[in-house]
Amino acid sequence: MSQPLPSSAAPVVSLRDVHKSFGSLKVLDGVSFEVPRGEVMAIIGRSGSGKSTALRCIDRLETIESGEIIVCGHRVSDPKLPLRALRLDVGIVFQSYNLFPHLTIEENICLAPVTVKGKRRAEARETARRVLGQVGLGDKLDSYPEQLSGGQQQRAAIARSLAMEPQVMLFDEVTSALDPELTGEVLRVIEQLAAGGMTMVMVTHEMGFARRVADRIVFMHQGKVWETGPAGILDAPETAELRQFVGSGL
């Protein structure tokens, strides 16, 4: 366990000894990690290792049984936490994009800034234009999600999160539903965000990408943080499980 940090350098995301079960299945078995501001953390591991659940716990899409989660100063593990405040600080992008199909891309992006933050329409539109430019979709304002390719939809979903100006972005296997050629365009956007200093936690299967972009890797196995360290651990794994995972053709 690391030394307690002074509050100015407090980690943006911190999990301490987090436990969670689905019925009799233990999915998180004492998970701890910290993500300092401006860092990118990649969570890797087999399916069923608990990595997506750990990520979803950060945004309180799952509740935990014991342990402590603090995100941007919000005590997420407190059942009485006002969720709205947490979600204003945390952006999340899902594997299945989850754009709103009845709204244009611009409306998708403007909806929350207008309804939640009370921004004026014109101002929200300005933001939509900016974030869409950032993800390379400046010409898709008036398109509906179903008119876009999977990669474009995923980039639009990233833009929608960015428009809320979150402190930290979570990515839950955002390229797993995409063809290899579409994966690249989404990863490039995430890489740009990393370069821009955004704090990010991503669950990913893209080992090359994790190695290139992540400041820190967390390898999860059987609901535990099995091995963690800088990207270099992928080249020199200490545990047999990570060695096997890295060597399994990824």
Binding site: S52, D59, L61, L83, R84, R87, L88, V90, G91, I92, F94, Q95, S96, Y97, N98, L99, F100, P101, H102, L111, A112, T115, V116, E146, R160, S161, M164, D172, E173, A177
Partner: protein
């Protein structure tokens, strides 16, 4: 002198009845629709008590024949000091009946909006009400349109039960004419045709809507 052959006045009387059928259907649709919308929202409410109470309402109304509801309202209320006209009794009964069925149809439609849509809206810090009105309901409306138009056909046909409380809509108008002409086959055939003329376009429309909104169901099936 009573006419013994079907004439223009009879047809006029039937068309007038048909008009009342349309009016009664419209009242049932609008009133039942508004109440049904409330029922649907209660059925998916965050509060367990509200869900249970609205569920019980639906069960009771759906478990009671419309005919009995009409009798209850028309004959049951006057002894309690509440006099109701045939139109009021028929309207109230139909509104109750329609609200229970529409409420259930729409509950199903709201629940068939994929869960990740709720989740995505929740993660954008939207409140439950904002999620419902900006994200879920607009999608539910698309899913709901074909079955709602389809149910409208049921409403139109069920207004014929209002004849038992003495309300002169199409079926009752036919009865009255038949009582004087004794031409049941002819008279009821005309009535059947008039009902068909009202319902068939709606059935066709519903079918068309179903085909057109098929897209609503073939999106976002990627599972984590």
């Amino acid at each position: 002198m009573i006419a013994t052959q079907l004439g223009a006045t009879h047809l006029q009387f039937l068309l007038q009845g048909a008009l009342w059928t349309v009016v009664l259907s419209a009242i049932a649709l609008v009133g039942g629709g508004l109440l049904g919308f409330l029922v649907a929202l209660c059925r998916v409410s965050g509060s367990r008590a509200v869900r249970l109470a609205s569920g019980a309402y639906v069960q009771v109304v759906q478990g009671t024949p419309l005919l009995v509801i009409m009798f209850l309202v028309f004959f049951g209320l006057p002894p309690l000091g509440l006099n109701v006209s045939p139109l009021a009794a028929a309207s109230a009964s139909l509104i109750l009946y329609v609200s229970a069925y529409m409420g259930e149809i729409w509950r199903g439609c709201i629940e068939s909006v994929p869960k990740p849509q709720w989740e995505a809206a929740e993660c954008l810090a939207m409140s439950r009400t904002q999620r419902m009105f900006h994200v879920v309901l607009p999608q539910a409306v698309r899913i709901a349109t074909p079955p709602t138009v389809g149910f409208l056909v049921q409403i139109i046909k069920n207004t014929s039960l209002a004849s038992v409380v003495g309300f002169v809509e199409l079926a009752r108008a036919g009865q009255i004419i038949n009582n004087s002409l004794f031409e049941p086959f002819l008279v009821y055939l005309i009535i059947a045709l008039l009902y068909f003329a009202m319902c068939y376009p709606l059935s066709r429309w519903s079918r068309r809507l179903e085909r057109r909104t098929g897209f609503a169901r073939r999106q976002q099936v990627v599972s984590p």
